[in-house]
């Protein structure tokens, strides 16, 4: 594989990190300002993952939706599988921030967690 430039998404700086694969071994060349950048560049090259955020329907809540996220980054190619589960899920108010709504969503080993508190009306 040729050298590849990766824009880091860990923080707002957006370091441009140059990486290369040598015999299936990841090699960081230059560009990151911190350790998290190195981890991101490695993961982005070998197994790209993202935190997915969305929202889930709430019954009898002060708002019709509760915002949710995956408890950890999930593989990029699983994003739409997880979204399908999210679309089919409904939850009853009250919902508390941090509450686990779906466990091991779409076999990603991540959970779907509420990021907002929704009171009952």
């Amino acid at each position: 594989m040729d050298e590849k430039e990766i824009t880091c998404i860990v923080c707002p700086i957006g370091c441009k990190i140059l990486v290369r694969m040598d015999d299936k071994k990841f090699k960081l060349i230059k560009g990151n300002k911190c350790k998290r950048g190195e981890e991101y560049a490695k993961s982005e090259t070998l197994n790209p993952r993202r935190i997915l955020t969305s929202s889930i329907l709430v019954e009898k809540g002060e708002w019709p939706l509760v915002s949710v996220k995956t408890s950890k980054p999930i593989p990029k190619d699983k994003i739409f599988d997880v979204l399908n589960v999210i679309k089919k899920t409904k939850v009853k108010a009250p919902v508390k921030i941090g509450q686990k709504i779906v466990q091991n969503v779409a076999d990603t080993d991540a959970d779907i967690v509420a990021t907002k508190t929704i009171q009952i009306v």
Binding site: I9, I13, G14, K16, T53, P64, K69, I97
Partner: protein, 415 residues
Amino acid sequence: MIEEFFDVAVIGGGPAGLAAAVSASQNGAKNIVILDRNSWVGGILPQCIHDGFGVEETGVSMTGPEYANMYIELAKKHGVTIMSETMVLDFNKKLEITAVNKNDVYRIKTRGIVLAMGCREKTRWNVMIPGDRPSGVFTAGVAQAFINLYNIMPGKNVVILGSGDVGLIMARRLKLEGANVLGVVEILPYPSGLPRNVVQCLNDYDIPLYLNHTVTYIKGRDRLESVTIAKVDKNMNVIPGTEKEIKCDTLLLSLGLIPENELSKNAGVEIDNITGGPRVDQFYETNIPGVFACGNCLQVYDTVDALSGGAKHAGKYAAQRLKQEKTKNSEIFVKPGEGVRYVVPQRINQSGHVHFTLRVTQPGESVFLNVTSNGKKIYRKKLRFVNPANMIDFEMNVDKTLLRSNRSLEVSVHG
């Protein structure tokens, strides 16, 4: 009319107002109120359900609602009074606020006011896009509220004008919700939003980004039917013959934000024409003694982390002023020089370490930030990458000699 008294009143309960109120309490102010016209505090954060908030501040990536919750809990812990659904009508130089809610009109006497009114989105009429006036044209933030708070999809086939962060975030959000995102159109030769949002919102989903392009016509009788986009030259003039019509039912506008300062202007607060926010000194104090400004009504920040950092200082100085008013002997001005759009603070009136924030006019690599006084270099820092979308900050000591010199400081960024 009900009379109230508070030591510090914060106008606006978004992230800036919350951080300022908490910090005022941590620095000794006792009797603090936040006034907000919404039925909730947290401002725009409850609709910003994506993550990436708080990384610089706490090391942990939070979603908008989680970040807001962190400060709401702190405000509760510090006994900050929150008056929601309360609209401030005006304030004056005697530090009195008039506010109204469902119950009554309030005359609130204070010993310090922190302005934290936030900002508004630019609309179609700020950039004068020709064409019809159909439905289906929304600002990106309104579409975000529709989708994330009210469960309403604004449309199916979407074009986004402007590559600011809200526009990029909405491109991804609409895609995830099943819409067809036809492209993001940006008049500048580079994206306006943060690099990480270009990567994870556009590149991840193969959403095209049309740089050096703009929307030249909006067509549709009742509902939007199409937009025409065209290439622009380096002076941002449309190049004839490059027009292309895109069928769509929704146009989102992410054109930038305007600090909201109607209250400030009415009270006689001096406004910086470039930031659109109050001119402040290094203590975030405006020209009206006891009136401080922070958050997006001071200057539009790129991250909530940096915004809260500034707001905490504003809250701290508002609290310190309750104990002792500062003595002002001399004052010098800070001016943007070559390559710099603006610098905050605009005035310095006490010696010591000063924290500056600024924005550059164009992207660059391996450039130098210089501060000069009367043509003499007094500070120099190397910057690897600069980008108008990334706010730059630095700290510099302003000593008594410099302060008494009566000479303006000029901040420039060039190769």
